[in-house]
């Protein structure tokens, strides 16, 4: 069955420290992978996506993610965390229907807290 696992429910990092959020997926075909961020009471904002090509993907707000097929992983990283990065982060896998994206399967999310 298709699934996404985010092993860390809650992570706390100091402002200025580096960050890595883990994501593992189970998907039969070539996966299309996404990271979204959600602030409290808000919708989801796309940080970055991987469809094909270079396995290191750059996103908005200084985030990057690396697709590792051998490990079925798509971990999110940021070299220096800012207090405004505190939010919940969701990894998702999706299908592509001829260029139009199908439904997404989300992980349960990782809540990021940032301490001064």
């Amino acid at each position: 069955a298709q699934s996404v696992t985010q092993p860390d429910i809650h992570i706390t990092v100091s402002e200025g420290a580096s960050l890595e959020l883990r994501c593992n997926y189970s998907y039969g075909a070539t996966p299309y992978l996404f990271w979204y961020v959600q602030s409290p009471g808000q919708g989801l904002q796309l940080l970055l996506k991987y469809f094909s090509g270079d396995t290191l993907v750059q996103g908005i707000k200084g985030f990057e993610a690396e697709f590792k097929r051998s490990q079925s992983s798509f971990n999110l990283r940021k070299p220096s965390v800012h207090w405004s990065d505190a939010a919940e982060y969701f990894c998702a896998v999706g299908q592509n229907y001829g260029g139009s994206q199908g439904n997404l399967i989300f992980g349960k999310g990782t809540k990021l807290s940032v301490k001064p």
């Binding site: 996404v4 996404f34 979204y36 009471g41 808000q42 919708g43 989801l44 904002q45 796309l46 996506k49 969701f90 998702a92 999706g94 229907y97 260029g99 139009s100 994206q101 199908g102 439904n103 997404l104 399967i105 989300f106 992980g107 349960k108 999310g109």
Partner: protein, 109 residues
């Protein structure tokens, strides 16, 4: 350009009632998807519509239904509400990727 809009923002219903949630996609987008996000969980796929036809359905009971109109806006209907239907309902407009609206917070008492 306006993003994805959803209405209402918040809604309180009682068990057994029916509710209709509305979504307007980004102009030019022909596909709309609906997701349910229970507190503390990731969003779960409910429906996807493309050009007014259902393209996909998640594992939700028949109490959940949806439709898409000629202008590509969409409604999600939930009948016979249960306490467990309390959630944030997210609409996504799709063109190449999914763009999410702010959601409708439904509380069932």
């Amino acid at each position: 350009d306006a993003g994805v809009t959803q209405s209402p923002t918040h809604l309180i219903k009682t068990r057994g009632q029916q509710v209709t949630l509305r979504c307007s996609p980004i102009s030019g987008h022909k596909s709309v998807s609906w997701y349910q996000q229970v507190l503390g969980q990731g969003p779960q796929f409910i429906f996807q519509y493309y050009e007014k036809e259902e393209r996909g359905r998640g594992n939700f009971p028949d109490r959940f239904s949806a439709r898409q109109f000629p202008n590509y806006s969409s409604e999600l209907n939930v009948n016979a509400l249960l306490l467990g239907d309390s959630a944030l309902y997210l609409c996504a407009s799709t063109q190449g990727e999914q763009f999410f609206g702010p959601g409708t917070r439904l509380t069932v008492l």
